[in-house]
């Protein structure tokens, strides 16, 4: 055993984090929640984000680097609604970090504070990648951000009581800016109301509901299952009877199915930033929805 000790200690010393301690170490599962923490905490939090805009949050591996980040987190801010089911439980378990265990103040699931839609009536895996709790992509509707922000600010204040006033102040400021933006977006997006679209995956349901757009066709035969060429041909046929104005896909999805259908139906394929950082315009939460609306408007003839 002694032979092991010295090299490992040396190695550990190399990796030791010498950065100055910010008040709070936050690990956000997705960029949108990292951005919300940044809005509410400002410089009082050091934020790590577990996934990038180019990754599919359903399919992440519990990599060693993520376990190390979970080990040091004071607060875990995640989407919930089973989106991170394939990796988050492992991060919690392997981290040896009591603060972020389920039910503790250091564990925050945004889905707790909003209403989910598309809850499956029957749970059967032959229906594809179904989420028992409902469709987890609720951040598509920016109105859902406010209740989450309110709860998150309260949670930040609970964990870091010394800065409670700071978080409440930033929440009030954020709420005001957000409500102004919501009104502006509603006005700007008015021409999108009633526009029929095709979607590559059911991750735009909340966005479409907010904007009053209608998803006529889903390019996936079953949720989360890649479409075959034959299925896409079928979709193109169906689009001849019930035409749509555009095909939507998230930037982390393969561009091929949407492009193929778009070409064969002579309609535009629109790549939308799914989260903060997914496009140049989506630099923060405000930019995210602004960019989405502008891209949708731009695809209207």
């Amino acid at each position: 055993m002694k032979r092991l000790l010295l090299p490992t200690l040396l190695l550990a010393a190399l990796f030791v984090n010498t950065a100055a301690q910010a008040a709070l170490n936050v690990l956000a599962c997705e960029p949108e929640w990292g951005a919300l923490v940044a809005e509410l905490a400002g410089d009082k939090a050091r934020i790590n984000i577990a996934t990038t805009p180019r990754q599919d949050p359903h399919h992440i591996e519990a990599r060693p680097s993520l376990i190390a980040r979970a080990r040091n987190a004071d607060l875990l801010v995640c989407n919930g609604a089973e989106l991170e089911l394939g990796w988050l439980p492992l991060l919690q378990r392997e981290s040896g970090n009591a603060r972020i265990q389920t039910g503790r103040p250091g564990w925050f699931e945004a889905a707790h504070y909003v209403d989910l839609i598309e809850k499956p009536e029957h749970l059967d895996r032959s229906a594809g990648d179904v989420h028992a709790a409902g469709n987890p992509h609720f951040h598509g509707d920016p109105r859902n951000i406010l209740p989450v922000a309110t709860a998150l600010a309260a949670r930040l204040a609970e964990i870091d009581a010394a800065n409670a006033a700071h978080y409440q102040h930033r929440l009030a400021d954020f709420r005001q800016r957000w409500q102004t933006a919501l009104a502006r977006w509603a006005q700007r997006a008015a021409p999108l109301k009633g526009v029929p679209v095709a979607v590559q995956h059911k991750n735009w349901s909340y966005l479409l509901r907010w904007l009053g757009m209608v998803a006529v066709v889903d390019l996936e035969p079953k949720s989360g299952i890649e479409p075959s060429a034959a299925y896409l041909a079928e979709v193109v046929q169906r689009l001849k009877q019930t035409p749509v104005r555009m095909v939507l896909r998230a930037s982390y999805h393969s561009p091929r199915p949407a492009q193929w259908v778009a070409q064969h139906s002579a309609i535009p394929a629109v790549e939308l930033p799914f989260t903060v950082g997914a496009s140049e315009g989506a630099g923060d939460l405000f930019g995210l929805y602004e960019d989405i609306i502008e891209r949708l408007l731009g695809a209207l003839p």
Partner: protein
């Protein structure tokens, strides 16, 4: 699941309970795994030059139910999590795992107790349905039969570093190979292990993990079934110390870290084992053998490795190649020289596989292998395998 709309109106900060599974039942997962094997008809399969290790996951030819597994797991309370894993075969249920683990110790500490797969090496903790090939590597077959299973306790500590640095120690009964039932029957531990794992991301697309592990076992009267110098069946019993070093390395790549379309995995493990003690070859003269209960010194130094590549070239489809090579090394048979023979041999095996997974719950695999793990035998194998998982399916480790 009912949501109270009023509560949202009253106060938007109150949890409205959308994402919670309100059932307290444990997660249940049933693994169905079966196969078709085309191979040479060999009565006593073994790895030449190595004392046979513990139990193996079947080598029946033709169609067979390879491995059915029932797994139950849940958080027990705020302090503990529990998991049990039963391997089911005709007429028997084997307890593969039955353990509890702490949840709330903090400071990076986790304690596990009960029967569990040891944390040494890389693939030791993987269940058969999570293997990238239809069978276990020769290294693990030679070292542990298939897995190193411990009845004991494990303490792990994750260092508070930005990179992943994990230390673990285990103390166990040590009744499974390379330990033995008699060796485990004592006060204290019949087997002890320690390991360190480090890992990190190179960048968004590349991540890795490396490990160094050490296992000590003190078998007493550990039985092996083998052939003596006159090629007659014999039983040998080993008592002494068995010490194993294991080095493991895994590297994974996915473009932008998005595994969905394409990804690549390289994995290799190397071991070196030294055994020192006494070996008795039981009298088999009645069967025409040459063993006569002689007890003599036994010393061996053996090693081996495997390296494998698995590439997902499009969603759902993967190909893989694995190379196994062992070195039977040096064996000093002491007074049993002439009664037993050490085969100086380097067992090798090449395996290629293609698998298709319609979802993360099912997988179909075709594997071809050229197995030269037995001296003088070249066994060309074809394996068609399915692995299905019903019910809750826990996340797999990196």
């Amino acid at each position: 699941m009912k949501r109270t709309v009023l509560a949202i109106a009253a106060c938007c900060a109150a949890p409205v309970g959308a994402a919670e599974n309100h059932s307290f039942n444990p997660d249940i997962s049933l693994i169905l795994q079966g196969r078709y094997l085309n191979a040479r008809d060999i009565a006593e399969r073994h790895i030449s030059g190595f004392l046979p290790a513990g139990h193996d996951h079947g080598s029946e030819r033709g169609f067979s139910l390879d491995h059915s597994e029932l797994m139950l797991s849940a958080n027990i309370d705020q302090a503990f999590r529990g998991q049990a894993n039963f391997a089911i075969a005709d007429g028997e249920v084997e307890v593969e795992e039955a353990w509890f683990q702490t949840l709330g110790l903090g400071h990076g500490l986790t304690v596990k107790g009960g029967r569990f797969l040891s944390g040494i090496g890389y693939s030791n903790e993987q269940h058969p349905h999570a293997w990238d090939f239809a069978d276990q590597s020769l290294v693990y077959q030679a070292l542990f039969g298939a897995h190193l299973i411990h009845d004991g306790v494990q303490l792990r500590w994750l260092a508070p570093t930005t990179a992943f640095v994990e230390f673990g120690v285990e103390a166990a009964r040590g009744q499974f190979f390379p330990g033995s039932e008699t060796g485990g029957n004592k006060n204290g531990a019949g087997s002890a292990a320690t390991f360190v794992h480090i890992g990190n991301d190179w960048n968004e697309s590349h991540s890795w993990r490396a490990g160094l592990s050490y296992l000590h076992a003190a078998p007493a009267a550990r039985e092996s079934h083998l052939e003596d110098a006159s090629a007659t069946e014999a039983h040998a019993a080993f008592s002494g110390d068995s010490n194993t070093w294991l080095v493991d390395f895994v590297w994974k790549w996915a473009p932008d870290g998005n595994m969905r379309e394409r990804n690549f995995k390289f994995q290799a493990e190397y071991f070196q084992r030294k055994e020192q003690g006494e070996l008795t070859c039981e009298d088999n003269s009645a069967d025409g053998g040459v063993c006569n209960d002689t007890t003599g010194r036994y010393r061996s130094e053996q090693s081996g490795f495997y390296a494998q590549l698995v590439y997902q070239f499009m969603p759902r489809w993967r190909v893989g190649y694995r190379y196994d090579r062992l070195d039977s090394g040096t064996v000093d048979l002491g007074a049993n020289v002439g009664l037993l023979e050490h085969e100086d041999y380097r067992p090798t095996r090449h395996s290629v596989m293609l698998d298709y997974a319609p979802s993360e719950f099912s997988r179909l695999r075709l594997q071809l292998a050229r197995d030269e793990s037995m001296h003088g035998v070249t066994d060309n194998q074809v394996i068609a395998q399915y692995a299905m998982s019903l019910g809750a399916h826990g996340a797999h480790k990196f």
